[in-house]
Symmetry: C2
Subunit: 331 residues, 2 copies
């Protein structure tokens, strides 16, 4: 069977099962693995506290296109995706490694610009770029790995949501997808809107400080929004064996999104990926404490229905989402 | 300028300088980085001992070809290259992450076989496969990252060789290149020879136990032989600002190599890459102590001549190497 017939999520499940079947489990306990495959980052116990690690790959013409932004932007984003995974666990970043695959025809100035973009973001988040590798390939791809830590003994997970938890997000979603649409269709809009959407798409901000705030106030469940709000909420539902109800009227709409794409704003908010905001669940009290420190919006509630995410309008009517977000491999 | 015009090693130097210029150095000291870019693995101080991390990418049709071995072999090798980097630092492996990029047309059974090969090797070296990522690309590539540790406060480096140090290697070189030649040319040879060469090429053994032995007996300088003996020795020379003299008569020739490729055996020993044996330098006394525990062969001596590697025949005549090993990007 081809990967395209199976689909991304089923393939991930299959790989997970394959590894579980063939991996020596004694090693997992000997190496004090706390969270293995299936969350935003891996977690293991080190002598003092927890260590975290994650890896992610951006491929040219899949995750970025030349000419849409600068090569510094590409580098920035390549590291941002992994830093965001650490943020989604409530971790602190520490060390980054970059494996760059490129064709021999790649331009040297573009490659150095890419590394400048990586270090620019690394500097911002106290992350030391300590190593990596370059290799020949027929297309350009960048794999970033970040090793981080958690100061305490807790991390944010996907699997710890409880029925009745409120669902909340940091910031706004849909902006990165709106930026992509604007840049690929060369859509014109006012300068401020353009800047907001362009930055959301090309220079996503990993929410490391926000992850710390969540953890500090007792949040235990989070994911970063990489595939889209509904898709990533479904991941929390699956991991926690729960359902969710999202109230459309509560979804925050950024003015830039309303300005540039009023007709598809809701679709982008729910299903546009790559915003790298944090989606989390917790008691009402906890969310209120968090909200005093950082801007967050409660958008719904976890329910006992297994794996089902319902959209509810302001009259309580259930709507069915058109599209759940980005599925690689299937078109 | 194109990457192919600049060449791999010059590009690595340029990337290193770019990062040094743009990276905030305070972060490196705050994060207690011991060894950054430029060795086999990155090293930083953790609360107890040292942490190590390395990443490496294998690309289809660059580093492996379908049909030459099994998909389990491909998975095995993808992890082996990173474990070997940890071995070259005298580290212990601990955790592995795999980022897999593949076309939608990839075969699901091949992908799961690949992961079985990864876990097979991970199990052998007490390494927990804790995470990863899959993504779409037009060609298949596998990036493995390994996070490890060093029990003591020392690692093996490239930069610590001293003039007068003996140069030694674990095991034999040239076997992986001979295996590749045998498999691509469908050369026939006796069954035992075939098994040795095939395994050397498809199932390289990262020398983690050997790295531990080296460190224990006081060796401080090592690299793994990935590009070829002369090429990797040149890396030690460059990092240590020394030269080296290799005595041809002392180079160990494996019987399988002599049997299958008698005419090019020396060329393969000196320049064939991907053996993943350890090349190291130390005092004579230290090497003698190491030799009582594991098979190693002294093959030459470090000299004060900067960056020059000389080959010397049994009459002391200097020969000039034909080819220094594998350079990516240039053909």
């Amino acid at each position: 069977m081809k990967v395209s017939e199976l689909g991304e999520f089923a393939l991930i499940d299959l790989i997970k099962r394959t590894i579980e079947q063939s991996q020596n489990r004694d090693i997992l306990s000997r190496q004090q693995v706390v969270t293995g495959i299936g969350d935003d980052a891996a977690v293991w116990r080190s002598r003092h506290g927890l260590a975290l690690a994650t890896t992610d790959t951006l491929v040219e013409n899949v995750h970025f296109r030349r000419g849409m932004g600068t090569w510094e932007d590409v580098g920035w984003k390549a590291l941002a995706v992994s830093l965001s995974d650490i943020a989604a666990m409530g971790g602190l970043a520490g060390y980054a490694l970059i494996s760059l695959a490129m064709p021999p025809s790649a331009n040297v100035e573009e490659i150095t610009a890419l590394y400048r973009g990586i270090t620019e973001l690394a500097n911002k988040h106290d992350t030391a770029l300590v190593g990596g590798n370059i290799t020949r390939a027929s297309e350009l791809s960048i794999t970033s790995t970040v090793v981080g830590s958690s100061s305490g003994n807790e991390v944010l997970r996907r699997s710890t949501a409880r029925p009745g938890d409120l669902i909340a997000i940091t910031g706004h979603t849909g902006l990165a997808a709106a930026g992509l649409r604007m840049l690929t269709r060369h859509q014109s809009t006012d300068r401020d809107t353009q800047t907001v959407l362009r930055n959301a798409c090309l220079r996503p901000q990993p929410r490391l400080a926000e992850g710390q705030v969540l953890l500090k106030h007792g949040v235990r469940t989070a994911i970063d929004i990489s595939d889209g709000l509904l898709s990533d909420l479904t991941q929390i539902c699956r991991a926690s064996r729960l359902g969710a109800r999202v109230e459309i009227s509560k979804l925050p709409i950024h003015p830039a999104l309303k300005q540039a794409f009023p007709l598809v704003a809701l679709e982008l908010i729910l299903s546009g990926g790559e915003d790298y905001e944090l989606l989390f669940t917790a008691d009402k009290d906890v969310i209120e404490r968090v909200a005093k420190e950082i801007p967050v919006t409660a958008i719904g509630e976890m329910t006992s229905g297994r794996g089902d995410v319902y959209l509810v309008d302001d009259r309580g009517r259930i709507l069915s989402p058109a599209r759940r977000g980005w599925e690689h491999f299937k078109s």
